[in-house]
Symmetry: C2
Subunit: 704 residues, 2 copies
């Protein structure tokens, strides 16, 4: 973890502003203005060679002439001067810098070289850098605004539990303003710009280890260091800090051209999607959703510990609407147990008591009954979380008072059951609820979505300690250079413990017949030649051979056709392969993702993969439990169960093969370009799964 | 159309309140209070046998003793008294009544009978009724509040173009408050309750013909009269009034058990979904979406006339987020033409000019350039609609002023291109934009969704005049009673003009051989017996017979096996059928939907239908153009194109078969229970489509 030294940036005792301007509207003036006006509690040292005073503060011509060495330097200078400033800071023992300057790697190769030099200088001097080409950082609790965003000129967020990490300054600023306007408190705010040193992963890790962070809101443009990102996300998960991420670019899926069939489907966006699920990140699809989930996570006393959602409503229609949304998001809206229904009916004779519980507008006349209702729901009903939809009741001040008192007692009694209150409100009414620690939504489906996120994180956190060992592979052969033929490919897969159909090379039809006899019938016979790629096209494949005589005559015929139709081809002989028992065909693949490295793909049958792009992904390596989750994600999942007279499939074997393939891919890392296991024939439960064909393309494809 | 007489309800000159109470908080007191206090411009006649004065107004003991006959009576009496009141009203020539009372069909059979009697009385007297068991109605422009909803006690919506029709009073009240709080104006508000006379369809039709309605917001629980609903929706479409509908209950799909395979998939909710698309209704999935679409439709000068969406943004990330959402909603975000990009680059050298156009925060320094930018986008870029995302700029009052002036000029120049402004705003800032007629969203993906709705309605309105004749079928045989055998079923389908594989019944193997010779080889031979349902199981089917000799021997064998394995079965002989050329297998079905009557289903191949439930629906009847849209809705649509070496399929023939099946189903109406055409074999383009098997189950299944 590279969070060492980052305290100098996010929690400095003193700050210098290099390139400080007397004009509080200029880039070099804003941080001085903000630090001073918003009350940063430590020395502020403007550095300006031309002026002894900046915005009422004593200024110094250079960092070496400042009276103390600051922890943090904010650098607002043109690119080449910024590099010099970093050099001087390093020499003085400054431990961190935030660099606003543009003109680095975002511009051209020269800029990138300049940036690399600056990083070298900083590393040598033990300094951490944020930026360049960024909007800066803030630590709200410490009134540290090392930024030039106009977003904090007039209004500041209150201190709170939301930390915001954004690669984009514009998006980061937008988020901070949004969070402030909607009344949430902020802890750390970081925009990482070119991310020359402190990158998205580092900033997330820093926030994850910080006790004042309750939830991390992230905006990611592209991951650069997979291992570090994964480490940061796993730290956040281990520390129980939800990460809510916005990652745009879904519609760019499939832009990269790739040779292999698998690769053409492994659009990077689908991989991000999968990786986020794998590491427990919640990916928001809209700004509303990003905010809503952040809000619920920041304010809820607990995540949702089970699937049972209780819905209480004054409008039957909205109850059904919420139930619809809950089903979509895989939350359960169970009928309450009979004794709970009976109890509810006693106190609320007018109510629908099944769940959704429709208390109808009648409740308004006996508002105290809401407390009883909730008590039955959580107690007898054993509901894990509840949404209370009150339509327009939230607009009525005196009713709200009574509702709040009741809900407070319920919360005290059931502190681990999240409750979301949903109603139209006026700002004051809403504020009163929020002041009492309640979470208020205006829109019922958004409340359901937020609750589903609380469930998502409960599941994700539970997985932090999950036993799901990655298969240990030993004695793997190195990947050969150049094209790997089918027999070699399957041999390599077999080394990884993936089942393959047994096969052997025979040089003559007679040898093939003998090999078949040893193997047992039926067998498949194929021409073996590095020069014949499309074997079936020349009649080079014979299926379902059931006797030695059949093998002999088919072998002779195959060799004859080969020499007739491909007269120049080198012929190695005949492949004799066991004919796999019929099963369901799956496709397993590996590709190299630019962000996440080797990634495993899974799908069923050619047509599902090709016509419906019904596939799922995982970042390698992973264990069989994760593989099962991967299997469960495809839409055609049903085909693996007993279906239309076919038996249930051996999902254990399939999950095992996926996990082993992932370990194999991780082992070879960048040496591998793609793997296609197509098909993997998945037998009935207990019958295993075998690869009937495999293609491995190493990164080093040799001269061919 | 049954809108006659509804003016008496929604635009009465005078109103009586029967059961008027002096207490303005009681059900009988509220309408008096509202009418009086909110300024209804006409006589208000409280009817109360016990008091000569109600809330300061002269009251009358009965409607017959009132000085004038009111157009509308509001009835707030217990159920039996309400019926008497209707009777008295009818006798006096009152033309409409709104009945709050509960205790009718929502309670039990006695209540239903009471309600039916009330309707008879009203019909005889030429009266229209709203309710009973409803929350009433309003006409905001005329200060008519014939309701007891607390929602209009303190605050009234302003007059405007949104009409709200809701079967549920609770939901209707919620909507009116929501619409008011978000600053939209309301025209008609109607809750229909038990809908004994004026139902959802009538109220929608009334709003559709009313010039003051710009958009109709609907909440539907269940349609009762399909024809009237369709007529109302088609009137709205013909008059260019968008209908935005909330219909909950998605998660109840498939609750009804049904015998037929098709029926088990034809969950009523999927049918509603299809019907809404078919008749141009926008179905909202959330309250936010319902409001957003209503808002955009009510305030936009124009729908979106083409697919080309322009995105202008100060944050590149949000630009991509909006593009992602646009792709999901099938809007096009095209790269601007080169000359437009060049022009933009000249005025905005710092901008990304492809589309999304990223004007960056720099624009803020030259805010006037936004106008030039938009001019190039609409002019040279030929964009059909634009979303302008300004992040936090909307919070800055003086910038807003300049932005508004520029956008006003653009709007004048391009009045038919919708523009949505998207930014964080303070209430005053937002109000200033809205006062100038601009549509403001806070959330970028919601703006995209609203724009997609404007596109949806433009397409839907264009279809109002579309030429898509329903196939005319003539000389159809009546459906037989009882089970229809396969040959009869296919003969009926053939009468409807649906291609079937040719087939004939032969009594002996020799006759079969002769029939095959006349038909041409290859043929299929099947045992013909009303007692043998699973023909293959007893070896009763032979495929791919290529000579008379083959037919003879296969025929003999089939008859032998039949008498051996099913000794008691009645044997009609052998079916000789043309063997259809290989093609893609489709499934066509018809079911009876409780709300929409005969409904046609379409899907591809058994596994897609069964494992993925990848089917689409349409209400019968429809033409081939609508059938093509139905075909385009399935996820596996790709399989109909040239795919994996297979040719493009004959989609014209498939669409024709669907349209003909729909006409056939509509012709037989309720006499039909289900049809399964499985498979319909769809040949290559120009090769047609033929039904290889068909099952027709009439509603009257005879004694079997």
């Amino acid at each position: 973890m590279r969070i060492h030294g980052m305290d100098a940036i996010f929690n400095p005792r003193s700050v210098a502003v290099i390139g400080a301007s007397s004009d509080p509207k200029r880039i070099g003036g804003r941080p001085v203005d903000f630090l001073k006006r918003h009350g940063f509690d430590g020395p502020i040292l403007p550095i300006n060679p031309k002026s002894p005073e900046v915005q009422g503060l004593t200024a110094y011509p250079s960092i070496s002439e400042a009276p103390t060495t600051p922890d943090l330097a904010v650098i607002a200078l043109p690119a080449p001067l910024a590099v010099q400033a970093v050099e001087q800071c390093a020499a003085q023992g400054v431990r961190g810098a935030v660099i606003f300057s543009s003109g680095f790697s975002e511009v051209d190769a020269d800029g990138a070289a300049l940036q690399a030099r600056m990083v070298d200088i900083a590393r040598e001097g033990g300094m951490r850098l944020v930026g360049p080409n960024c909007l800066g950082i803030a630590n709200v609790r410490h009134n540290l605004y090392a930024t030039f965003t106009p977003g904090v000129e007039k209004h500041l967020p209150k201190p709170g539990g939301v930390s915001i990490v954004s690669q984009s300054g514009a998006f980061g600023s937008y988020c901070m303003t949004l969070v402030r306007m909607r009344g949430l408190g902020v802890n750390i705010w970081a925009t990482t710009g070119n991310s020359c040193d402190v990158d998205f992963a580092d900033a997330v890790a820093y926030c994850a280890q910080d006790d004042d962070t309750r939830v991390i809101m992230g905006y990611l443009e592209g991951a650069t260091d997979r291992d570090r990102l994964v480490e940061a996300l796993e730290l956040a998960r281990a520390r129980g800090k939800p990460v809510v991420m916005m990652k745009v670019g879904r519609s760019a899926v499939g832009a990269e051209a790739a040779q292999s069939h698998t690769a053409s489907l492994a659009g990077a966006d689908a991989v991000y999607d999968a990786a986020f699920r794998q590491y427990g990140v919640y990916r928001a699809q809209s700004v509303d959703e990003m905010f809503d989930v952040t809000y619920a996570c920041a304010e809820s006393a607990s995540m949702m510990q089970g699937d049972r959602l209780g819905l209480v409503t004054v409008s039957g229609g909205v109850g059904v609407l919420m139930a619809d949304e809950a089903e979509k998001l895989k939350l359960d809206v169970p009928a309450l147990p009979d004794h709970a229904q009976k109890k509810l009916k006693e106190v609320l004779p007018f109510a629908g008591v099944r769940n959704p519980v429709d208390v109808t507008a009648q409740l308004v006349n006996q508002i105290d009954l809401l407390e009883t209702n909730m008590d039955v729901l959580f107690g007898d009903g054993e509901i894990d979380g509840a949404i209370i939809f009150m339509s327009t009741v939230g607009l009525v001040a005196d009713l709200n008072e009574a509702i709040r008192r009741g809900l407070e007692r319920i919360r005290e009694k059931y502190p681990d059951r999240p409750m979301l209150f949903c109603s139209l409100t006026e700002p004051e009414g809403r504020a009163a609820y929020e002041k009492s620690g309640f979470i208020v939504f205006e829109e019922p489906t958004r409340a359901v979505r937020a609750m589903a996120a609380l469930r998502y994180f409960a599941r994700s956190f539970a997985r932090a300690g999950e036993k799901d060992p990655i298969p240990e592979l030993s004695n793997l052969s190195p990947l050969p250079d150049g094209i790997v033929n089918e027999i070699e490919a399957k041999a390599l897969l077999a080394e990884a413990g993936i089942g393959i159909v047994r096969e052997t090379l025979a040089t003559t039809p007679e040898a093939a017949a003998q090999a078949a006899q040893e193997m047992g019938f039926p067998v498949v016979l194929k021409i073996a030649s590095p020069d014949i790629l499309h074997k079936s096209d020349i009649g080079g494949v014979a299926l379902d051979l059931r006797s030695a005589e059949d093998v002999r005559s088919a072998g002779a015929r195959i060799l004859e056709l080969a020499s007739e139709k491909m007269p120049g081809a080198r012929i190695d002989g005949l492949v004799v392969a066991e004919q796999a028992a019929p099963g369901l065909e799956a496709i397993l693949g590996v590709t190299q993702d630019p962000a996440f490295g080797p990634v495993v793909m899974f799908g069923l049958g050619g047509v599902f993969v090709e016509a419906l792009e019904d596939v799922s992904f995982r970042v390698a390596p992973f264990g069989p439990v994760e593989a099962r989750r991967m299997i469960d994600e495809i839409r055609s999942r049903k085909l693996l169960d007993a279906f239309r007279g076919a038996p249930e499939r051996d999902i254990d074997a399939l999950a095992g093969a996926l996990a082993r393939l992932s370990a194999f891919a991780a082992h070879h890392g960048a040496a591998l370009e793609t793997i296609d296991v197509n098909p993997l024939i998945v037998g009935a439960s207990g019958q295993g799964a075998v690869a009937a064909d495999g293609v491995i393309i190493p990164a080093n494809r040799g001269g061919h």
